[in-house]
């Protein structure tokens, strides 16, 4: 009982304390008295309403684009005889693992209206001139931002749909075709209604992801003088920070996030009824025939835009003097690498900080998630459902909103954490808690309590049973959790951007600083470094767990 209380307390401090500070500050005036002034300014001022509107419509657009592309992709991978599925899933995993702000950097180099390489090719191909003809792509626009956000958000939707289709019994579709329905009819009348909740849930998750991103809007929309809520909140944090307004501006994001997740829970909850009975037989793989060509083309376009082109341009930029000039011999150089790893005094500090944060957040997060997961799944303590709720709650807190709350909670005595890595650590542990908890829950659900019971019947204590029976069985799940939290931490930007100081910079904010002075060579070098670390870690997960992440 005291133990579970302690855990509840830890979670309350992590999750609730920043949110209480947020709420209180949003209702307080500069002089400290209660006020609704912050909210009044929020609803009355076009400079707040416009970013809110932009955030809402662009997030909806990202959700829609993701559905249009990821739904057919999910169906093809789950239900057709498409060749190379394993490789395709792996590439989608790579899109998932690419930090969206990296993708945004790369797309500046590809889709800048005049110097962007794709536009340069386009102009050259048709004998056009930049500025005279309109560009093929203008990445510095709301549309460009939606495009890039969708490229790195679609894997969420794809996963929902592919996994959703995987559990829908093939017999239902078979029955339909035996009764004489043509394939399109089966797809429309049987498969589609069954997969509809997954589609809607995918849309909502994509919406939520897009809404909380800071990198792509700051990199792609600000140059076009477009603000979103995240860039707006960030601008309110420029010294002297307008904390009351920033807190109030965070509230709409929070409310929308909670509403999205409530809707999603309702939708996913309903899915259960359609899957009756035990494990179904093999899923029919529809032969695609000549349709293979357009099907593969779809994957080629999406993965080309999210992986091939961005990685290619980053690699190219890392090794040339002038990124927009032809990559001839005279343009080739190792200067960017020398600069980043020898001259640039931020690199070492940022790498060290990033690793320190990644390792500590992953370790603390995994321990906490494992304890909470165990207590909840085995229903060992009073209030286990509260624990589960608190561990999942941060899903609804956008990173930047969490950072506002943490900043408010820890910039004054007794807990003066601002300026230390500790405040960023708290942000990462809290933000990654839901991911960790879900992972551990999944691992623990697979271990039936009977195994522990058996060990206890033979006289083992609960701890002994835990150590000798359960721990070895969930080992892989725990390792996977650690690595997922580590990966989530080393790429974090939207919360870090408000919490870092010169001593506590991470790689992501260092790259953001370099962007403000257009130093693309060093950005490309750091991007490649980050991707290499990411993929090495993912290779480790798959080795340890032989588990599909996507």
């Amino acid at each position: 009982m005291p133990f579970s209380l302690a855990i509840v307390l830890v979670l309350l401090v992590l999750v609730l304390l920043p949110m209480v500070w947020l709420a209180v500050t949003s209702l307080r005036s500069d002089s400290g008295g209660p006020t609704l002034g912050n909210y009044r300014q929020l609803v009355g001022d076009a400079s707040f309403l416009r970013p809110l509107f932009t955030t809402l419509w662009t997030s909806a657009a990202v959700g829609t684009v993701c559905l249009l592309f990821a739904a057919p992709m999910g169906w093809l991978v789950s239900r057709s005889d498409l060749p190379g599925k394993r490789a395709l899933r792996l590439l989608i995993l790579a899109s998932f693992a690419t930090p969206p702000f990296l993708g945004a950097f790369a797309w500046v180099l590809l889709g800048g209206p005049n110097a962007g390489l794709i536009n340069q090719w386009y102009y050259a191909l048709f004998g056009l001139k930049p500025f005279e003809a309109s560009p093929l792509i203008n990445i510095f626009s709301a549309g460009g931002m939606v495009f890039v956000m969708a490229l790195y958000t679609f894997p969420y939707v794809f996963t929902f749909i592919a996994n959703g289709l995987d559990v829908i019994p093939g017999e239902l579709e078979e029955a339909s075709s035996i009764l004489g329905a043509p394939a399109w009819r089966t797809a429309l009348d049987v498969t589609f209604p069954l997969v509809l909740p997954a589609l809607l849930a995918g849309f909502l998750v994509a919406f939520l992801q897009a809404m909380t991103l800071f990198g792509p809007p700051a990199i792609l929309a600000l140059p076009a003088r477009i603000d979103t809520m995240t860039t707006k909140i960030w601008s309110l944090f420029q010294f002297p920070p307008q904390l009351g307004l920033a807190a109030a501006a965070s509230v709409p994001l929070l409310v929308v996030a909670i509403a999205l997740l409530r809707t999603q829970t309702l939708l996913m909850g309903r899915r259960g009824y359609s899957i009756i009975g035990g494990k179904s037989g093999a899923i029919t793989q529809h032969p695609l025939g000549a349709w293979k060509v357009p099907a593969l083309a779809l994957f080629a376009v999406v993965l080309g835009c999210s992986i091939l082109l961005p990685y290619g341009v980053l690699l190219r930029t890392a090794f040339v003097r002038n990124w927009s000039a032809p990559a001839g011999l005279a343009n080739l150089t190792l200067d960017n690498w020398r600069f980043v790893f020898i001259e640039f005094s931020q690199t070492r500090l940022a790498l060290l900080n990033t690793f320190a944060l990644g390792v500590t957040a992953a370790t603390a997060g995994t321990v906490l998630a494992t304890v909470i997961g165990y207590l909840c799944i085995r229903r060992l303590v009073w209030g286990h459902s509260v624990l589960g709720f608190l561990a999942t709650a941060p899903v609804a807190i956008p990173g930047i909103v969490l950072a506002v709350g943490l900043f408010l909670a820890y910039t004054h005595p007794p807990l003066m954490l601002y300026g230390t890595l500790a405040i960023i650590f708290l942000a990462y542990v809290t933000k990654e808690m839901p991911v960790g908890y879900q992972q551990i829950r999944a691992a623990l659900t697979a271990v039936h309590p009977e195994l522990e019971d058996a060990s206890r019947i033979f006289g083992a204590t609960r701890l002994r049973a835990l150590r000798d029976v359960t721990a070895p069985l969930i080992r892989n799940g725990v390792i996977a959790t650690w690595i997922l939290i580590f990966l989530g931490s080393i790429r974090e930007l939207s919360a870090t951007i408000l919490l870092f100081t010169a001593r506590t910079k991470t790689i992501s904010v260092t790259m953001f600083d370099l962007r403000e002075s257009n130093d693309w060579g060093p950005i490309a070098v750091l991007s490649i470094t980050m991707l290499l670390i990411t993929f090495a870690m993912i290779a480790l997960v798959t080795r340890f767990t032989q588990r599909r992440i996507i």
């Binding site: 110097a115 002297p240 003066m416 010169a502 002075s517």
Partner: protein
């Protein structure tokens, strides 16, 4: 403003009580030994990151026992970070360089700076240093216009700020932000004084691409992403020209904003001795010549020679900066600018 005043007051209360024993002005052996023990100097600077690191490398070559941590950002961002750190009781910065000279007036008023006159600064003209010895102009640059020579023929290139309002430049301009860059802020102040806000309101309708740093805009036109730069560092333009990038500088006929960029030591610097060794180094002929040759800046050191291919300051119509007059207007300039051009 009450909120700002309150924040600054609380910063003042916690930070002004630190007394620093008087240290020598010139670099002595005792100072060097103490500096070596401190191990490093933390330098917040707004100069282009590659120039900053080159200076740091030169310093390390001269003083191998003292490391340099460079924290580079735009002047206004540097100012915000330092004030935020002071307010939160974080001591990190030793030496600061900013291209918004009004920052130094503010910090001096707050008594956050340490008086220290590097030996070379004694020979600087009085208008380039603080009479009380708290700071001196480490470098100067101009906030120039510029264009990409592949995209704009010389005869068509704009010659003045007024020319930029021509419809043919719509969608082709790139500009830095006074909320981020001290050079841009100083330039904006000068432009407003000559042409008024009315001019900027019209410019805002030209579909200007809004970047942050005045180091970014020269790189943007060099890459061909935009054709004409409204404001950018003259020194970055010199660097681009030395690299054979297809760009040319425009000194607008209305006049070119002259931007001084002082450095100073903080009174509560965590590495006070290393800070003084570094500050002394920054003003030596060697460092100054490096900032001019490699960094493209204008030096105020009487012994420094300018490369032959650069237009001498005497041939350019300058709009001088006026930090004291600008200081009270900074908040308003940023606000009005952001209303016109966004964040």
């Amino acid at each position: 403003m009450t909120g700002i005043a309150r924040l600054l007051m609380s910063g003042l209360l916690t930070w002004s009580a630190v007394a620093i024993p008087a240290l020598a002005q010139e670099t002595t052996q005792a100072m060097l030994d103490a500096a070596a023990k401190e191990g490093k100097v933390v330098w917040y600077s707004s100069v282009d990151v590659k120039v900053a690191e080159a200076i740091a490398q030169a310093f390390k070559a001269a003083y191998p026992k003292i490391d340099v941590d460079v924290e580079r950002s735009g002047s206004e961002r540097v100012f915000q970070r330092i004030n935020q750190e002071h307010q939160s009781g974080i001591r990190n910065v030793d030496v600061v360089n900013s291209s918004d000279a009004s920052h130094f007036l503010f910090w001096k008023q707050q008594k956050w700076l340490a008086a220290h006159t590097p030996p070379d600064v004694k020979r600087y003209a009085p208008q380039f240093k603080d009479p009380d010895g708290y700071y001196a102009d480490w470098r100067a640059t101009l906030s120039v216009m510029g264009y990409n020579t592949n995209l704009v023929a010389e005869k068509d290139a704009p010659k003045s700020y007024a020319d930029l309002l021509d419809p043919r430049w719509k969608g082709k301009l790139v500009k830095s932000h006074p909320g981020y860059s001290g050079t841009s802020l100083t330039g904006t102040y000068a432009i407003v004084k000559v042409l008024g806000w009315d001019y900027l309101a019209k410019l805002a309708k030209q579909d200007v691409q809004q970047l942050q740093s005045t180091t970014a805009t020269p790189k943007s036109i060099a890459s061909g992403e935009r054709a004409v730069m409204v404001d950018g560092n003259e020194y970055n333009m010199f660097i681009e020209i030395d690299r054979k990038s297809p760009v040319k500088i425009i000194y607008p006929t209305e006049g070119t904003p002259f931007v001084t960029s002082p450095t100073a030591i903080f009174a509560d610097a965590p590495h006070p001795n290393a800070a003084r060794v570094f500050q002394n180094f920054l003003y030596t002929v060697k460092a100054q010549q490096l900032v001019v040759d490699m960094g493209g800046a204008r030096s105020l050191h009487p012994d420094v020679k300018e490369p032959a291919n650069r237009t001498p300051l005497s041939k350019i119509k300058l709009l001088p900066d006026d930090p004291a007059a600008m200081l009270p207007l900074v908040g308003e300039i940023k606000k009005r600018y952001t209303e016109l051009f966004g964040n």
